[in-house]
């Protein structure tokens, strides 16, 4: 017998028949249920529902543990909508909910380890409904749980790792409409306890924070890592988990994986196009766009997952990459974004204003950043690499070649949205200025890589001047990257295509305000080669104001942080 958990209940007790497992659980926020009935080794420890955006059909995550000694996988799963009148037990075969795919991470869960089953809906279910999830492992054992279609209040949008892979940066976002305080519960099976540091752990609605964990034994690239966080609102506590891949790379290369150190790109290839495992590289791009040439979306997803399993069997640490093209964007991004460890999308596209969210209306924001954010949210907590065309698309831009400042603008637009690498497509400019500027841009990115690798977009910077706009990236406890954009770029419309008007270049002082998280102060502000003079910035009580002299299309400022005093993490 199981107890139905509803929002607002404080404590519940679950008795597992047959497996003699007794689990204490607590349900607070909608959609998260803990420990239901299961038979056999794979046990569902919790679940949550999430809909990433209005373009997304939504998904259910089941947090699983393999209680047995041997590895197991999932062979089948089923979703059935529960009829409220009939109570908890729906009739078998009735109101079955179609899903696009069910992805287990890792593909095979070893004995005693945790995993995550992501089930992507084919169509968005109605809010407030309840679903019965039935999961069968490859030995035929079945476990079940119930999920309510209510948005989880907290999410993990990204987990970054230091270059030495000895630190994990777990970003948390408050998706509810109430203030939450957050903390870290575990990383890779290690209880966090007090042994972590937090940045901005008291979150207003929509805000993000970061939890930093020192890993006693550094990970290896490609490891599967289970991460857990908790969130508290008054007396209610909610937990969520994610399984992420360890990655400390920020690829900067051509779209086909070719590199060229002479023009500032990476010197080593990161990925290779193959459906088979190739151990020379960290990542395998197994599929070029599931929307083309792979049958229906469901068939394409199944095919990808089959390739993924094969690659995992050959080498557990190999990452998988998928190119998701722009057909039916951003919907296709949400459909497939959860599948690969690394997704490649092109956000330098024409965006319809009807795709603009209410939050973006009235905000000065490039449409490329907006599209980039869709790419980011479609793939969280995994990564997306942005494809940037070096030759303007005729359907989007009026000019046939970019100015050097325009390439810079586009690249930083995608980075502002949270891209974790750039894949260039097309030929590098042949004129002297264009080529030199391109090389320089890549070298600048190379310098910023250690920060970009662990960065997460936040909404912490603002500008009053209407001619400019800004985005910021929190780079854990190291810095805040503040990007300031000149709004004149790509601001004109010529027969429905974008162009930058000609204007005289000059230096314009622009005042930028940045919110600095509590318990941090600002040591200095740096541009790419020099510090901003102290007389040009002022920091007081969590607020930084500085003057930037704008002359370029985008200028990048690194706000170097210092922690005032180390506050150890707390447990709920």
């Amino acid at each position: 017998m199981s107890v139905d958990y509803r929002q607002g209940d404080s404590w519940g007790l679950c008795i597992v028949v047959g497996a003699l497992a007794l689990v204490l659980c607590r349900l607070d926020a909608g959609g998260i249920c803990l420990a239901e009935r299961s038979e056999g080794m794979l046990q569902i420890m919790g679940s949550e529902y999430c809909r990433r955006s209005r373009f997304d059909t939504g998904e259910v995550r089941l947090f699983v543990t393999n209680r047995g000694a041997t590895a197991t996988s999932v062979s089948e799963c089923e979703l059935i909508e529960i009829d409220a009148d009939r109570g908890d037990e729906g009739r078998e075969g009735e109101q079955q909910i179609n899903y696009l795919y069910a992805k287990l991470s890792p593909p095979v869960v070893k004995g005693g380890k945790k995993g995550e089953l992501l089930i992507k809906f084919a169509a968005a279910p109605a809010a407030g409904r309840r679903l019965r999830c039935r999961v069968q492992d490859d030995a035929g054992r079945v476990c079940r749980t119930t999920v309510r279609i209510e948005q989880a209040p907290v999410t993990i949008p990204f987990v970054g790792f230091s270059q030495a892979l000895d630190r994990a940066y777990v970003y948390v976002q408050n998706k509810s409409d109430r203030r939450l305080s957050v903390g870290l519960s575990e990383v890779a099976g290690m209880e966090a306890g007090h042994n972590y540091q937090s940045i901005n752990s008291d979150l207003e609605p929509g805000d993000k924070g970061c939890l930093i964990f020192e890993i006693p034994r550094p990970f290896a690239l490609g490891d599967y890592v289970h991460v857990g966080v908790w969130a508290r609102c008054e007396e209610q506590v909610v937990r969520t988990f994610r399984v992420v891949r360890v990655m400390n790379r920020f690829p900067l290369m051509f779209r086909d994986g070719q590199t060229d150190a002479d023009i500032g790109l990476d010197s080593e290839r990161f990925f290779v196009n193959s459906t088979k495992a190739t151990r020379e590289f960290a990542c395998v791009q197994t599929m070029l766009c599931p929307a083309h040439g792979h049958g229906s979306n469901h068939e394409a997803a199944v095919k990808f997952l089959a390739n993924r399993t094969e690659i995992f069997d050959a080498d557990e640490r190999l990452l998988t990459q998928m190119w998701i093209c722009r057909a039916d964007k951003p919907r296709a991004w949400y459909e497939f974004g959860g599948l690969p460890d690394v997704a490649v999308m092109n956000p330098i596209l024409r965006a319809s204003d009807r795709n603009r969210s209410e939050a973006d209306c009235g905000r000065r924001l490039s449409s490329f950043v907006r599209l980039g954010r869709y790419a980011k949210t479609a793939t969280e907590p995994n990564r997306y690499l942005a494809c940037v065309d070096l030759v303007p698309s005729e359907s989007i831009f009026a000019e046939s070649q970019y100015r050097p400042e325009e390439v810079r603008y586009l690249v930083y637009c995608v980075l502002a949205s949270g891209a974790k690498g750039i894949l260039y497509r097309g030929k590098v400019a042949v004129d002297r200025f264009g080529r030199e500027s391109f090389v320089r841009l890549n070298r600048e990115l190379g310098q910023l890589k250690p920060l970009l690798m662990i960065a997460e977009p936040v909404d912490w910077s603002s500008i009053a001047d209407t001619g400019y706009w800004t985005r910021s990236l929190l780079c854990a406890d190291a810095a805040i990257l503040v990007l300031v954009f000149d709004g004149r770029y790509f601001s004109e419309d010529v027969d429905g295509r974008m162009r930058t008007p000609g204007f005289s270049r000059s230096v314009k002082p622009v005042r930028v305000e940045v919110r600095v998280p509590p318990q941090f102060s600002v040591i200095r502000i740096e541009k790419s080669y020099a510090a901003v003079p102290a007389k040009r910035w002022d920091f007081d009580a969590g607020r930084l104001e500085f003057e930037c002299l704008m002359a370029d299309s985008v200028q990048v400022y690194k706000v170097v942080l210092n922690r005032d005093n180390v506050i150890p993490g707390e447990e709920p």
Binding site: E399, E444, Q447, G502, Y529, A530
Partner: protein
Amino acid sequence: MFVLVSLAVVPEVRVGWTSEDGNEYLVFAELLESGQKAKAMELGRALFEDVVSRHAEHKGLRQVQDRLKSASEMSKLIVRYLERKQQSTFVDIAELGVVPDAALVTRGDQVEHFLPSAEQLYWDNVEVFRGEPDLGGISVRDARFVRQYRALKMDSQIEQLSKVTALVRLCGSGSSSLWRYALVLSLLYLEDNDERWESFDVLLGSADAAGLDAMAEFCLLRAERPETAKAIARYKARSQTKNFSLVDWSVESGSKCVEQGRADLAERLLRAAIRSICDESKIIELRLRIAGGYSRCHDHARAAQVCAETAKEYPDSVFYGRLMYDYFSYLARQSQAEQILLSIDSELAKPRCRSYLAELLYLKWWSLRKTGQSGKAGAIGERLIKQYGENRCVAPVLLARATDALSNQQYDRCRELLDRLVTKFPQTKSARKGQEISAKLR
């Protein structure tokens, strides 16, 4: 003679050491005059510190200090970079056993540290150097000295940069674009219209032709300094004992600006060239270029405006017809068919437009079709075909007629028109389209 004696009596000059008339500033000036720059620098540094300490709150002096400091830091940064570039060349040479004792930089070291672009250095510091510091409130002598000292410091740094750049270039380890670094300090130091550019040997004299071109291009396209670009181009012409033509230079440079999407800058150059000439034909030609530049940058509105203004200024010119044709063409590119129809009839009636009658009639025909007046358009089209059958403008008319015939299922008529189109005007877009349709008809 007196000056020479006094210099001989005072071999090392410091503050507190005075010339015979007690004026260190005079000694400083004399050292400058005699070319003893190192000594002048040493004395000047001490004197400058003295002036600054006596006027600690003076805003103008602080500006001078800031500029000298920025210039010094920038100079060190660039010189360090250039010297490393030079050293990397020596690594290669040393391995060939040519310079065995040179201080080697091993291959494992990063020879090229991150140096901002010359462009970035310029724009990051342009505000520091803007305007002339106001030295009012200090004595005339002090002010004169400060200006001399500043000039000495800047000239020395520019000279050093030029020498190192020339050396690096000589060693073959850098492209001509390195000259931009040497140029930055000079650009910050001298205003656009400073006469000294015309004979700025300390920098321009050290550069080769490619270096001068690189500097001129930088001034024009990256630093918004067209006057300086012109001065460098003029210097180059003089150094090669060639004539410098402002008009030719403006036309060539204007094209480069347009390629970079800067039709506005091209206009600035061409208007400066226009001011230097009186030939009406040439003036109109340059104005047409300005309009053409805007059009290539997709600013057809501005292009049309330039043509209209020029036509208004020169209503009796032989180019009037061309101006009106361009004007209406640019309106057409903005799909402004109704605006074209408002005024084209009056232009068609003007004798000055006679040489462009076919082209203007074509634009009228196009506008009529665009505004759904196909009856009137048909009449114009008929006239064009009959009277101007050899003119390229007729090509789209033939195509339109052919497609109309096709819509009316008059296939033979359609084929006849398409054949005529492809035969008479094979290189046109209309002919290419016509060939596609012909192929489908078969």
